[in-house]
Amino acid sequence: MQIRDYVLRRLMILPLLVVGTSIIVFALTRIGGSPIGIYLSHEMTPAEVTELEERFHLDDPLPVQYFYWVSGVLRGDLGWSGVAAAPVTQVFPDKLGATMELAVAAGIVAVVLGIGLGTFAGARRNRLPDHLARVFSISGASMPVFWFAIVLLIVFWVYLGWFPTGRSDPNVFGRIAHPTGIYTLDAILAADFRAFLDALWHLTLPAITLGYGTTALIARMMRSSLVEELGEDYVDAARAKGLPERLVLRRHARRNALIPTVTVIGLSFGFLLQGTVVVEIIYRWPGLGRWMADAVLRGDQATIMAYVLFTSVLFLAVNLVVDVTYAYLDRRVVLGT
């Protein structure tokens, strides 16, 4: 198969998956029966209830209701968020900025540390650093994020007092404008170094908490693919021509080992996104995840639907980009399918 065909095929399946996801999301909100309860009060007469049902098309068959809902979503109408007491689309951008800042920071931590650690361990296979890295990795895969966050808070916030919770110091927050809603970026735009430090300072613990599991995942993948590459003939050839081991590693083995690691990095995006729910609750980070958790506990269906739909579409898009990148980097994938 040509690479173009592969990309086209993936692009063609994408809308199908998005529609499928939207059906699941819609079905979820109807499992508990009609959502009319949100609008009811005790004083209403049956006639008023019927009128409400008509107004929101709740008396129509489910497929018709689905159609009304989807056309609303496409027009940018995601309903009313009871938790935020505002339309979903109005609250969304603010929360999105906070969550993206956290997820990207954690992603950077994970990619840098993960690749570094994986390379370090892979190049020292079955020696002490490799064993330690394995312990680190398998702990990361087993670590409950909610517990890790609390343990870090107990140590670094309660006992040592080194790091704060929340997203910024209110005094610093007021000093600069916030055009993007991403505080580190806002501080850079305002050329305010103290605000930048404050944003980073608040970001550190949540980003480390969120990034740990992903770091472990990337390190593990990097290590095993590096070990595999180091066993290849071209590595022997590079060594035979007298290239120093450092360069063999950096110029040859590591580059090829990075290819499968790219897939894991893509996969871990979903991992980071869902991790934000717990991390935001514990660190009082005012993002999408905490909003979702509030919505879940208070039965705010509009918010839940919007959040699930958004994360799935984002997840699908990222996976597509990763798979296509991977296909370009390693042509064998395309030939195999």
Binding site: I13, L16, L17, G20, T21, I23, I24, V25, L28, T29, I31, G32, R125, I138, S139, A141, S142, M143, P144, V145, F146, W147, I150, V151, L153, I154, W157, V158, S224, V227, E228, G231, G270, F271, L273, Q274, G275, V277, V278, I281, I282, M292, A293, A295, V296, L297, G299, Q301, I304, Y307, V308, T311, S312, F315, L316, N319
Partner: protein
């Protein structure tokens, strides 16, 4: 012309069993050579022992032993207090009681969810892989749709819609996790179907179901065993996360619920109510990861045999 009569060559049930037992012995010996796996196994045995012996180790709370006992005379006691070696919660719950009965709750959760998802996945995956064609295409698109929602968020949404209770968490996890098995089993079956011995069975005239049962399924099962082992840990991790967010009944003796209850006290220096139950979740997941990895190294020679 002479009719050539081919006598049906079948290995007797007894010798087949012997072969299986010997293979099991070989695998067990090799698995036990890895010290990390042995440590994992030891922790698993301890945890399951604790779960089974919970009514012996502690005095079961009445009427519902899965609810935390409350002692209003002993609020927020630190670890080491007589009668409460791991301290108490802000509701006077004995943290040790929660740790022990939490293992029982977790064992129940993981066994039910893994059992259900493997069964559903086995049925759907086998249908798709063995029948192929349109059935395969349709089932796999459904699987793709399920996989396009991040698992925790999906489970969170389902549990939220169903209402907060531990039973709904079990249900939500089952709905989310079967797809992994369906896809795994389908791929495995398609792979095995291409082997010569399957063609051979077809040539002798075995029925499709008998080929599936005798030749295809037994040779597809090892990656599922590995995945199920890993999921025994992973599901407790995700389940505890949902409980932590608040989707279980309040006061349930479950590790995630306990961590959530203890969270409010940490700023006042009461670290124990969250730390111990959370450490149990970590240990549980770690143990199954260690054993799952060890099994994979032995059963699946394609990975990490260097």
């Amino acid at each position: 012309m002479v009719d050539v009569v081919v006598p049906p060559v079948r290995i007797s049930v007894g010798s087949r069993l012997a072969v299986r037992l010997r293979r099991f012995g070989e695998v067990a010996r090799e698995v036990l050579r890895n010290p990390a796996t042995v440590v994992g196994l030891f922790v698993i045995v301890a945890m399951i022992g604790m779960a089974l012996l919970a009514p012996v180790l502690t005095e079961a709370n009445t009427p519902d032993p899965y609810q935390m006992p409350r002692d209003w005379g002993a609020l927020n006691e630190p670890p080491g207090t007589p009668g409460f070696p791991l301290g108490t919660t802000s509701h006077g719950g004995d943290v040790l009681y929660g740790v022990i009965w939490g293992s029982r709750t977790s064992l129940r959760l993981s066994l039910i969810v893994v059992g259900a998802t493997v069964t559903i996945g086995l049925i759907i995956g086998s249908l798709a892989g063995f029948l192929g064609g349109k059935v395969d295409e349709i089932l796999m698109r459904v699987v793709d749709v399920f996989l396009s929602i991040p698992e925790l968020i999906f489970a969170l949404a389902i549990a939220a819609v169903l209402g907060p209770s531990f039973r709904n968490i079990i249900l939500a996890l089952a709905v989310v996790f079967w797809v992994k098995y369906a896809r795994l089993i389908r791929g495995q079956i398609i792979h095995v179907k291409g082997n010569d011995y399957v063609d051979a069975a077809r040539v002798i005239g075995d029925s499709r179901f008998s080929i599936y049962r005798r030749d295809v399924l037994p040779n597809s099962i090892t990656p599922i065993i590995v995945q199920a082992t890993l999921d025994m840990g992973h599901i407790v991790l995700v389940g505890a996360t949902l409980s932590f967010i608040g989707l279980s009944e309040a006061g349930l003796a479950e590790w995630g619920v306990l961590v959530s209850d203890g969270q409010a006290g940490i700023s006042a220096g009461r670290w124990w109510a969250s730390t111990f139950p959370g450490a149990m979740v970590f240990l549980w997941a770690l143990a199954f990861n260690l054993v799952g990895d060890g099994l994979r190294d032995v059963l699946d020679p394609r990975t990490e045999k260097r």
